[in-house]
């Protein structure tokens, strides 16, 4: 779908429609999760500690390690 067409469609939809609002939240969450995984992996490759990554994300180092540590070991 062309960008202009997407915007027109977006503008045409009632912004209080839960179907639209919830779909937007779900996709935003997916996007955020992907970005987080990407940037955490990038920080690790650049030698950042879990402590530093947690601090930058505003969560504990345990939380960030629990979420992203295993994935890296599996693929490493």
């Amino acid at each position: 779908m062309a960008a202009q067409e997407t915007r027109d469609l977006a503008g045409a939809v009632d912004s209080t429609d839960p179907t639209v609002g919830l779909a937007a939240v779900a996709s935003l969450r997916t996007l955020v999760e992907r970005l987080e995984a990407l940037h955490v992996a990038n920080a690790r490759e650049r030698g950042w500690s879990w402590q530093e990554i947690g601090a930058a994300l505003g969560v504990s180092k345990q939380a960030v390690h629990r979420k992203h540590g295993r994935r890296r070991r599996l693929l490493g």
Binding site: M1, A3, T6, R7, L9, A10, V13, S15, V20, G21, A23, A24, A26, S27, L28, T30, L31, R34, L35, A37, L38, A41, N42, E45, R46, H68, R71, R72, L74, L75
Partner: protein
């Protein structure tokens, strides 16, 4: 691994990476290797004899695997003023093609190469093995087809099987040509 590959076989592997990038996939799987083979002259000619062509195979791949980020609802994000394609473009500029795809997480980001899946690696090994078994000094795009078929479980093997391409027959055909 690639020292023994002919220029065209190498071109097929390079094309496989472009195919993965074009579909925003964060991995190079057997399906991308098949598409890569279909973009080279000899590989495309061999598979054309079975009526297998790049366009329909690409459609098969999209149907089976999807695009790397088609679980993200662009229209929904646009209601928030977020242009997903613009976000993806920036992220891919920094982290390489397919960086936002489902399977990209945790790969070697600094290398910027799209990694091969274990099955795709196996295809490359089997290509080598089949080429040696046929007594070929050089591995060509045709041998990649044998590797794809021999691997047997990947998406490429499934697509080829569904289109009536069988290992033994292709092998006999290549052996006949090599002997001629």
């Amino acid at each position: 691994m690639f020292e023994r590959f002919s220029d065209e076989a190498r071109a097929a592997v390079v094309a496989a990476e472009s195919e993965a990038a074009g579909l925003h996939h964060g991995h190079i799987g057997t399906e991308h290797l098949l598409l890569g083979v279909l973009t080279t002259g000899p590989g495309a000619r061999l598979l054309a004899e079975y009526g297998v062509e790049a366009g329909p195979v690409r459609e098969d791949v999209v149907q089976i695997v999807g695009r790397g980020d088609d679980d993200i609802d662009r229209a929904a994000l646009a209601t928030l003023g977020i242009d997903f394609d613009a976000v993806r473009e920036r992220v891919e500029r920094s982290f390489g093609p397919g960086a936002l795809s489902r399977r990209a997480c945790g790969r070697g980001l600094l290398s910027r190469h799209i990694p091969f899946t274990p099955r795709a690696k196996k295809v490359l090994e089997l290509t080598l093995r089949e080429g040696l078994a046929l007594g070929s000094r050089e591995l060509r795009a045709e041998h990649l087809v044998l590797g794809l078929l021999r691997e047997d479980e990947g998406i490429a093997a499934r697509i080829l099987r569904a289109r009536g391409v069988a290992f033994e027959e292709v092998r006999a055909r290549i052996a006949g040509r090599d002997a001629a």
